[in-house]
């Protein structure tokens, strides 16, 4: 069982809300690992759009992605790339 974590900075001007959160859930469902996202002491399971929303992460905020499972490394990689530029490319200025 692999474990993997990485600290990323959210690069999406509108912050982590409905659409990006739904996107994370969608991406994570392709992996077998359990993936969590931490903002300070707050933790959210990446399979729960509600928990992700409750983080209320804003543009530029530092978040930690944490995965445990056989494909932990690629799961972290996929989620991290969303945070770093994926949302901006996918949604642009559209909410």
């Amino acid at each position: 069982m692999g474990k993997e974590s990485r600290v990323v900075r959210l690069n999406y001007e509108f912050g982590l809300h409905a659409r990006p959160a739904a996107k994370i859930v969608e991406i994570v469902s392709c992996f077998k690992s359990e993936v969590c996202i931490e903002k300070g002491k707050q933790q959210a399971r990446a399979r729960s759009v509600i928990e992700l929303l409750a983080l209320a992460a804003q543009n530029g905020e530092r978040l930690r992605i944490f995965a445990e499972g056989e494909d932990a490394e690629s799961a972290v990689e996929a989620v991290a790339s969303l945070f770093e530029h994926g949302f901006q490319e996918m949604f642009g200025r559209n909410l």
């Binding site: 001007e13 509108f14 409905a18 739904a22 399979r47 509600i50 929303l53 209320a56 200025r93 909410l95």
Partner: protein, 581 residues
């Protein structure tokens, strides 16, 4: 019977059953279940979730057909919540361990989510918490086996009861059946108030929580003049109000006699009295009440109705209709006066401070296609009457120059299509920001006419959000700063021979009319059902005494002092008017 006091924003009396605009947002009652029913209750919950998801998927399919990506995204978000494993788990646990009904468990869990989201500082997150309420309402509806009926037909003649009235809601109302408005929020100049006055129906706003106290079908009396709403009136009250309604309507009939008389002071000063309209059906009220043209044609409704920009043809027909009906009389069409925040599905929302953001002329200048489409539609309507273009929220002369360049482009495009238009069409600006008022002499070099928009002018001069109850009392129309700006604008107009009109709410306030005439205002544009009472005021005063009044009021140091002088004056001029309103 229960009497509630709010802010009367549109006069008149009406007696009719209530109709709630939104389903009640009341949380379901706590209901305990037997231990043996736990599994069945969880199954009820899961079945409801499955039905809700299939409803959403059906809506989603429609949304992608009609190309509404933003709406589709909202539906996706609702689905994502319903499919969320922690939602399933938490509701299941609540039912199992607390032995409560599925309804109660769903509501508790979702309301907790809504709270955790709405405590976020960001406005966009807070908006999402209203999505959670929508999900709650959908599940509760399914659990109670109510059929899906979001647009039930309205029975005859109802009073609308709602939290507030959003422009988009107003645009979709069946106005032939609404005889009054009653809302929880809002003030004198909120959208519900403006619409009610425009429609000539009584309205009381700012009632706090009337939506909680009224159910569909409850009999209501609105006394718009006193700001009262009576829920479920007793026999005696009902009789008394039927009589009051009669005498009120009698006074209205007396006013109707003024219809064909000129708006002229006792000493022969002729005023031009125009109407502000938004909806097509207001054109007929304007004509019926003797309007001499349209001084403000608001075009926003065209843009809010479907959520998609109206095409050139649709706009052209609306504008042409007004031009034809008014004949030689002016029809001043204001270009789109909305902020990006109000444009459904525009996709560029997210301004921290929309009132100081990309709105009105700033918005249209940044959306060349949308702007030019509107300008082409206006230009195409121009040969059918006396059509003029008015630019809202101008702050610099450069904006006027750029807008005029767009008008040139639009003309060129019409020439290429061999379509007729009036190449001499007049372009004027609204003066509704202090910077425009103070540089009116500079704007005069590019504008053919001015029209003063008092609502925004007051809000921007006094830095007061008129919808914010905490500071609403600072929204003083008679503040010396406001009165001085008005005097300044009219002086510049005289010096540069630019006609100045007023299309703001102030012009429809009986108390301000003598003062405005005294400042030299010659054109008033007001909502159609105020035309007759304003005409009555004009015909009851002389320009000489109005001039003296203006000087006295301009020297006041406080708004309350000025306001008292104005009210006192109009009471001496037209006592019936003040008594009955």
């Amino acid at each position: 019977m229960e009497v509630r006091r709010g802010i009367g924003v549109s006069a008149g009396i009406v007696i009719a059953p209530a109709r709630l605009l939104e389903k009640s947002k009341m949380a379901p009652m706590k209901r305990l279940i037997e231990s043996g029913s736990v599994e069945g209750e969880i199954k009820r919950f899961r079945d409801a979730v499955t039905s809700a998801i299939s409803e959403l998927e059906a809506l989603r399919a429609q949304a992608s057909e009609t190309m509404k990506p933003e709406y589709a995204a909202i539906l996706d978000f609702h689905s994502a919540i319903l499919k969320d494993p922690s939602f399933d788990k938490e509701v299941g646990q609540k039912i199992r361990f607390n032995k409560v009904s599925a309804e109660y468990a769903v509501s508790r869990v979702l309301r907790r989510y809504a709270r955790s989201i709405s405590s976020a500082s960001d406005e966009l997150f807070r908006q999402r918490s209203s999505d959670i309420f929508e999900i709650e309402q959908r599940l509760l509806r399914i659990l109670s086996h109510e059929p899906l009926s979001e647009d039930e037909p309205i029975p005859d003649k109802v009073i609308f009861v709602g939290h507030d009235l959003a422009p988009a809601q107003v645009a979709s109302l069946d106005k032939s059946k609404v005889v009054g408005f009653v809302t929880d929020y809002g003030g004198k100049t909120s959208h519900a108030a403006i619409v009610a006055r425009a429609m000539g129906i009584p309205a009381v706003v700012g009632l706090g929580n009337i939506t909680q106290d009224v159910s569909n079908g409850d009999m209501l009396i609105i006394d718009g003049s006193k700001g009262l709403v009576i829920i479920d009136p007793d026999e005696r009250t009902l009789e008394r109000y039927k009589l009051l309604k009669q005498s009120y309507e009698q006074f209205e009939r007396q006013l109707l006699l003024l219809r064909n008389m000129p708006p002229e002071t006792l000493d022969g000063f002729r005023v031009q009295l125009l109407a502000n309209i938004e909806f097509q059906d207001e054109l007929s009220i304007a004509l019926k009440n003797g309007a001499e043209g349209i001084g403000l044609y608001r075009t926003e409704f065209l843009f809010l109705r479907e959520g998609l920009s109206p095409d050139e043809e649709e706009q052209y027909y609306a504008y042409r209709n007004a031009a034809v009906l008014m004949g030689d009389q002016p029809v001043v069409i204001r270009t789109l006066d909305l902020g990006a925040d109000k444009m459904p599905f525009d996709g560029s929302i997210g301004e921290d401070n929309p009132f100081l953001g990309c709105r009105s002329i700033r918005y249209t200048l940044s959306r060349p296609e949308l702007f030019k489409t509107q300008l082409r539609a206006i230009l195409r309507a121009s040969p059918y009457g006396n059509v003029k273009i008015m630019l809202p929220m101008v702050t610099t002369v450069e904006e006027v120059q750029r807008a005029k360049a767009f008008v040139e482009d639009a003309m060129e495009e019409l020439r290429e299509r061999s379509l007729p238009f009036n190449p001499e069409i007049e372009i004027g600006v609204m003066i509704e920001v202090p910077s425009a008022a103070l540089t009116a002499d500079i704007l005069a070099t590019e504008a053919k006419f001015f029209s003063i928009g008092t609502n925004d002018l007051i809000q921007y001069t006094l830095a007061v959000d008129r919808g914010n109850q905490a500071v609403a009392s600072l929204y003083q129309s008679a503040h010396p700063a406001v009165l001085r700006l008005l005097s300044h604008i009219l002086e510049v107009g005289r010096k540069h021979s630019i006609p100045v009109a007023m299309c703001g709410e102030m012009g429809a306030d009986v108390a301000y009319v003598p003062f405005l005439l005294g400042l030299g205002l010659e054109t008033l544009s007001i909502s159609p059902q105020h035309l007759l009472e304003i005409k009555k005021v004009i015909r009851s005063t002389t320009l000489r005494e109005a001039g003296e009044l203006a000087q006295r009021v301009l020297s006041c140091k406080e708004a309350s002092e000025a306001e008292n002088i104005l009210r006192e004056k109009v009471r001496s001029l037209v006592p019936q008017l003040v008594q009955s309103f």
